[in-house]
């Protein structure tokens, strides 16, 4: 799936700083994600988890440091000593490898389900319409939404919209998939459907995944590694078994106790 050797990390944060006004959300953050790994980011709200995903999708601008995708500078680079923004033209090349699913789905309401999915494969990846439609139908089948192909997005329930949004992100054939609290806006009884879809994707692809979620059981099943964030710093990093059963840091212990209710 990737053209770079396996030892280059899929994602690398080098001294990443993100400030909103006077508020420093991320302060010289360093971490990397090997190719194909599934990482869950946990931590209290405001700890910077979502900001990390948004930086990776270029929805926010970095305040300092570098983000490398497969070793390539993505949003900023050093020219000699000078830290400069990478021009949009080059960002777009790298951005093609990254996909994102949002908490609020963000489907395009002026398009049908199918149109939502084929929009970028046709206009960005320059696939033929026939090929894009065939791919979209395969993905709709995978997420269990084949019958809704020609529906308007506002005729779908939240869970259905989210499954379409997942298919839409996968249609771009991303190497990296960012999942930002994708079940938080859903009714409890349909969360399982969406998680089933994600579980299948995790089992059947080698996409590198970054998840921000409150579904701890799901995180435990699919992740290779869990990062606990607090105040823009990684306070603990462990495999899911260790993190959820025997966390070493007291912040993690307190956080997990609060979210798991015991």
């Amino acid at each position: 799936m990737t053209t770079t050797p396996g030892d280059v990390p899929a994602i690398e944060f080098q001294d990443v700083v993100k400030r909103f006004g006077d508020n420093t959300v991320l302060d010289r953050l360093n971490f990397s994600v090997p190719q194909g790994q599934r990482i869950t980011l946990i931590g209290p709200s405001g700890s910077g988890k979502t900001t990390i995903l948004r930086l990776l999708m270029t929805l926010e601008e970095l305040s300092g440091g570098l983000i490398l995708i497969d070793g390539d500078p993505y949003t900023h680079e050093y020219k000699g000593e000078k830290w400069v923004a990478v021009p949009e033209r080059r960002r777009r090349v790298v951005r093609n490898r990254v996909g994102m699913v949002f908490q609020q789905f963000n489907l395009f309401p002026n398009m049908s389900v199918l149109e939502n999915i084929i929009e970028s494969p046709v206009h960005v990846l320059k696939k033929s319409k026939d090929e894009a439609v065939a791919d979209a139908e395969r993905l709709l089948d995978k997420v269990g939404m084949s019958e809704k192909r020609d529906f308007k997005t506002n005729e779908l329930s939240g869970g259905q919209q989210q499954r379409v949004a997942i298919a839409r992100a996968l249609a771009m054939d991303p190497e990296i998939l960012l999942l930002d609290e994708v079940t938080s806006a859903l009714d409890p009884e349909i969360v399982a459907d969406v998680l089933d879809v994600l579980r299948e994707i995790a089992d059947t692809t080698d996409i590198t995944m970054l998840l921000v979620t409150h579904e701890m059981q799901f995180a435990r099943e699919v992740s290779d590694r869990v990062l606990m964030f607090d105040k823009g710093q990684i306070v603990e990093e462990a495999d899911p078994e260790t993190m959820f059963t025997n966390p070493s840091h007291e912040r993690t212990q307190a956080f997990l106790k609060a979210v798991l209710g015991g």
Binding site: M57, V98, F102, S120, R168, A169, M172
Partner: protein
């Protein structure tokens, strides 16, 4: 009320008024087409990152909004070469005048598109032009339809100003009839009723559109 109101005179003036109504509607339709297209371009240009575009444009837009339509019509009419028909000048001036208002409607329509739509377009790596055409404008324009309808009604009611540049629309036709017969009551009453006959159903249509799009 025989002396004041004559059904005969009312009947006589009606064909002339209907001819005028056609001109009135022509001016409104052409004016609105210009206003809708130019208004959109103004709204988009006002989003330009360059102050050298925004500040002069804002000045021109404010100038047009803050001066009376009647003055603008006469001013442009007097400056134009005589071979340009008054109706054409009228349509263009109405169109430009209303474009400055329509641009506000578009601005609001664009801003009402949720931020998540822009973010999804970025996440799908869409080119900026494609984002505008395929995602933002279709949703923004849907938001502007009621505003467009209201300004169409408002422009329709302001067409009597075309009297000042000797375009024979409905009101001018009534004036001419009155000047010839020394009785204005029938003609002007019917002008009012004809305006109402067009405006009122249109406004009901706009209101229905508002509730359906809300």
């Amino acid at each position: 009320m025989g002396d004041i109101w004559s059904w005969e005179r009312a009947w006589d003036v009606l064909p002339k008024l209907l001819e005028g109504l056609v001109v009135t509607i022509q001016a409104t339709v052409v004016g609105m087409v210009i206003a809708s297209i130019l208004g959109l371009f103004i709204a988009l240009a006002m989003r330009s990152p360059s102050r050298w575009v925004r500040i002069p444009l804002k000045f021109v837009v404010d100038f047009i909004r803050m001066t009376p339509l009647l003055v603008q019509l006469v001013f442009v009419y007097l400056l134009s070469p005589p071979w340009i028909p008054g109706l054409a000048i009228g349509c263009v001036v109405l169109g430009i005048h209303y474009a400055t208002y329509m641009s506000e409607v578009y601005r609001a329509g664009i801003e009402a598109v949720p931020k998540g739509q822009w973010e999804a377009a970025t996440a799908l790596n869409m080119a900026p032009g494609r984002t505008w055409r395929a995602v933002i404008l279709p949703q923004a324009i849907r938001n502007t339809l009621p505003g467009l309808g209201n300004y169409a009604i408002s422009m329709f009611k302001e067409t009597p100003f075309l009297f000042a540049i000797s375009v024979v629309e409905m009101y001018t036709a009534a004036q001419q009839f009155g000047a010839g017969t020394f009785s204005y009551i029938e003609a002007l009453t019917m002008v009012g009723l004809l305006f109402l006959a067009v405006s009122y159903p249109t406004s009901l249509l706009v209101r229905r559109m508002e509730t359906r799009l809300a």
